[in-house]
Amino acid sequence: MAQGWGLGALINLNHYGHYLQWHVFSISVANLLVIIVMIATFVAALVAPFPGRRNRKGPQ
């Protein structure tokens, strides 16, 4: 078993997935977390300052 080292030591993944249910909609917690991280990354990409932007001199 790979469990016991690496990430397995921090997060126990050796179990069935948890699911959220709302009427006919069903999503696993893992997939929901990935979607939330993607939205957070998208927002961060829009607002986070890009290194060296102020000094950049490219064609307009």
Partner: protein, 207 residues
């Protein structure tokens, strides 16, 4: 006065390609100032992930379709293959959101948008055939669930998800070739038309 050499198809093709995509446009030294934003890095992140996907896939292909179940090295490479695919789709979807938000089909870039959309769909099909080629209970479950959906469209006569050999060939030959060719075409289109400017920038320029 044109000579015979000027009229031959190689000369005409070369002149046409160089006129549309001169070397300084194909490999530019600088980009417009508005490209200095994190939202513009997800396209190249997707391509970097695609490179890792292909490299790890080539390693997996070395010893047949099942060795990664019994070899720790194979298991490691298989995990690299899976996680690079996760990063590939993660970055590609954010790239898609960003380009949709900035209406990246503006300025004669419709073909760039369309090639990107088709690449996305081909990538989904490539990932799907990968899932049914794992040679484990997971792949059997996915294949038996998917067969009903595909059979309801009539596509099952040509695309049999229960046929491991067919799925593996689609996964490692046909679909990767399609995905890579479409990616190259997509990048060439970006080079030809340039990176789409922000909407605000376009309004200011046209005012």
């Amino acid at each position: 006065m044109s000579t015979d050499i000027d009229r031959q198809w190689t000369s005409r093709l070369r002149r046409s390609v160089v006129a549309k995509l001169p070397p300084d446009k194909l490999l530019p030294d600088t980009q417009p100032a508005y490209v200095a934003s994190w939202i513009y890095v997800f396209g190249v992140t997707t391509m970097a992930a695609l490179g890792v996907v292909i490299a790890t896939g080539c390693i997996l292909a070395l010893d047949g379709p099942q060795w990664w179940h019994s070899s720790s090295l194979g298991h490691f490479v298989n995990s690299l293959h899976l996680w690079s695919v996760e990063i590939f789709f993660f970055a590609m979807v954010i790239h898609l959101w960003g380009k949709f938000a900035m209406a990246a089909w503006r300025g004669g870039r419709s073909l760039t948008w369309v090639t990107g959309a088709i690449t996305f769909m081909v990538s989904i099909l490539t990932a799907f055939t990968g899932y049914v080629s794992q040679t484990n209970f997971d792949s059997q479950w996915i294949a038996t669930q998917a067969k009903d959906g595909i059979n309801s469209t009539g596509g099952g006569a040509f695309f049999n998800v229960l046929n491991l050999g067919q799925m593996l060939m689609w996964h490692i030959v046909l679909l990767p070739i399609g995905a890579v060719l479409l990616t190259v075409l997509h990048v060439v289109m970006v080079r030809v038309k340039g990176v789409v400017p922000p909407i605000v920038e376009t309004v200011e320029l046209s005012a």
